[in-house]
């Protein structure tokens, strides 16, 4: 029986009249790899934002490794061991790729408040170099992020979240905007590494192929509610899911 990582208990989030997330309960165990699928507006990103503290639920509780994190902000939740990547990459657009990574490394090693020692240190640089190589961004290390193509920015966004060596990683559409050629190479590098380190992974996706290939468990969202939850191939085969997500009949 694996330990529970994240427990979402009857969480709802309303925006005026719209219930973006409607009384959702979900339990994810340690080491699980969960893919969340659903159309735009089905509530998947909102759920991610709720779990990671960007939004507060209008009702319900969220528990992370036994700690009630409902109402906590992103900084505290990140300190507890959660990391996330974003649908719209959140990067320091005016700085270089390398600087983005170095800042993340400094923050993770607790040196974010250091104002005396230089950030450009040999050990940090080699760590950054290794990370960039892993994500295929080494050649763009000195490029300014605003000059990076969408796909590169997406990958960098994911890379920054991985720097934090989290216990649980949540990714919001990690491959959207990434070219077809790079989609799989990025996921092929990332996912096995996460599995090897037993990082619990929850990712939101549009792409059924990515879901099927990399997720073990599938959760389908529609209209703010979970309509299916189980082994990913089963979930994707369900007619109800295909109808909701693909509009098939």
């Amino acid at each position: 029986m694996t330990a529970t990582m994240i427990e979402v208990q009857n969480v709802s989030r309303a925006f005026d009249m719209l219930r973006a997330v409607d009384d959702v309960s979900l339990s994810v165990g340690e080491g699980e790899i969960v893919g969340i699928i659903g159309t735009n507006g089905s509530g998947k990103t909102t759920l991610l934002n709720l779990i990671t503290g960007y939004l507060q639920p209008t009702s319900g509780r969220i528990v992370f490794q036994g700690t009630d994190i409902t109402g906590l902000g992103p900084r505290r939740i990140t300190a507890l061991g959660m990391a996330r990547s974003f649908q719209t990459p959140q990067l320091y657009t005016g700085l270089t790729v390398l600087d983005n990574v170095l800042i993340a490394i400094a923050a993770h090693s607790g040196r974010g408040a250091d104002f005396w020692m230089p950030m450009y240190r040999r050990d940090c640089l080699s760590e950054a170099d290794e990370l960039l190589a892993r994500f295929g961004l080494r050649d763009q290390a000195t490029a300014t992020v605003s000059n990076l193509p969408e796909g590169g920015r997406k990958v960098l966004d994911v890379a920054l979240s991985v720097v934090l060596e989290p216990k649980i990683l949540l990714m919001d559409e990690p491959t959207s905007g990434v070219s077809a050629r790079d989609k799989f190479s990025v996921m092929d590098t990332l996912m096995p590494a996460l599995k090897e380190r037993r990082v619990t992974t929850i990712f939101v996706e549009h792409d059924l192929e990515i879901m099927e290939r990399y997720a073990e468990r599938g959760v389908a969202f529609d209209g703010g509610k979970i309509i299916a939850d189980g082994p990913v191939t089963d979930v994707l085969a369900r007619l109800q899911v295909r109808r909701a997500v693909l509009g098939e009949d």
Binding site: T52, Y54, G73, P74, R75, T78, A79, A83, R84, Q90, L91, Y92, T93, G94, L95, T96, L98, D99, L102, I103, A104, A106, A107, H108, R111, G112, A113, D114, F115, W116, M117, P118, M119, Y120, T144, L160, S161, V163, L164
Partner: protein
């Protein structure tokens, strides 16, 4: 472009420049020596503004710390008869830092326009206090600063001693500034400008980074003000007026946020041009400043300093 060119070690050119500045009094008139010292002291305040500007925060109220530092020296000299710089300068720094730490707790909740307006309001509060409380502050007359002494010695040529004191302290401030800008905190300040959400999701605190920068900024601005008080020999409420803050902002923007040296070079250029322009045509000085600032904003928003350094860099 991120300002990765900051390294803790001073480039050779800067060392050469300081060496030249150090021997200048041998060749130049007292007035010019005074102007250089004044410009360098004010340069520290400009650096203070630059530290915040890197984070996308524009302080239109840095005259506050400038005045706090100056009036610390003023009170000590005028009301307590203490002209000893080794007492007054550290006190000016400490008081400025404490005030910055307190006000920073309020100010770091704000960004953009509100940060600018609030910083302006806080400096104007000091200004009104300085004007109204005549018995304490000398009101609009201000306080005269006499009896400058260094390490117990009252120099026969105070202007010269002050010049070298300013020079030494400028080197110190530049060193501290360079280390700060190259540190993780310095880079985090740049990050604040671009994406605070990502900072929070790295587990770091944008507010704390800004507060730290604000305190360092306030401290060096206070030092600058204290030095100016000795140089001019007088303190008055104008030091806290928002137009005074505007001057610092002007030089900061013109010099850009890319280098620790830009504020000082810019400040020297500013003082000299101002000195001669005012003599030549008193009613076109501000006009010229304004036009210059517009040109920088429209064509070179990173400041003139990057223009100069770019011109010197080899093409790739």
């Amino acid at each position: 472009m991120s300002e990765t060119a900051i390294r803790p070690s001073l480039p050779l050119a800067a060392i050469a420049a300081f060496a030249v500045i150090a021997v200048l009094p041998l060749f130049l008139s007292d007035w010019i020596v005074f102007l250089i010292a004044l410009a360098l002291a004010k340069g520290a305040v400009v650096l203070g503004v630059v530290l915040l500007l890197r984070g996308g925060l524009i302080s239109f109220g840095h005259a506050l710390y400038f005045a706090i530092g100056a009036y610390t020296v003023g009170f000590l000299a005028n009301r307590f008869g203490i002209g000893e710089a080794l007492v007054a300068l550290p006190l000016a720094i400490i008081i400025s830092a404490l005030v910055a730490a307190t006000l920073g707790l309020l100010l770091t909740r704000f960004r953009g326009i509100y940060f600018a307006m609030l910083s302006l309001a806080l400096s104007m509060i000091l200004y009104t206090v300085l004007i109204k409380f005549y018995d304490l502050t000398g009101g609009t007359d201000g306080l005269s600063v006499r009896g400058f002494a260094l390490a117990g010695v009252t120099p026969t040529h105070p202007a010269l001693v002050q010049y070298y004191l300013v020079l030494v302290l400028t080197v110190a401030v530049v060193y501290v500034g360079a280390r700060f800008l190259a540190s993780p905190l310095g880079y985090l300040m740049q990050a604040v400008r671009y994406n605070e959400i990502r900072i929070e999701y790295l587990g770091a605190s944008a507010s704390r980074a800004i507060l730290a920068s604000y305190v360092v900024s306030g401290a060096i601005s206070g030092l600058g003000g204290a030095l100016v008080a000795y140089l001019i020999g007088h303190v008055s409420p104008e030091l806290a007026f928002w137009v005074s803050s505007g001057d610092f902002v002007f030089v900061a923007v013109l010099g850009g946020t890319g280098s620790v040296l830009a504020p000082f070079v810019g400040s020297i250029a500013f003082e000299f041009v101002k000195n001669y322009a005012l003599k030549f045509s008193p009613h076109t000085w501000k006009l010229t400043l304004g036009v210059f600032l517009l040109l920088v904003i429209y064509f070179q928003p990173q400041g003139l300093w990057t223009l100069l350094t770019r011109l010197r860099a080899k093409p790739r």
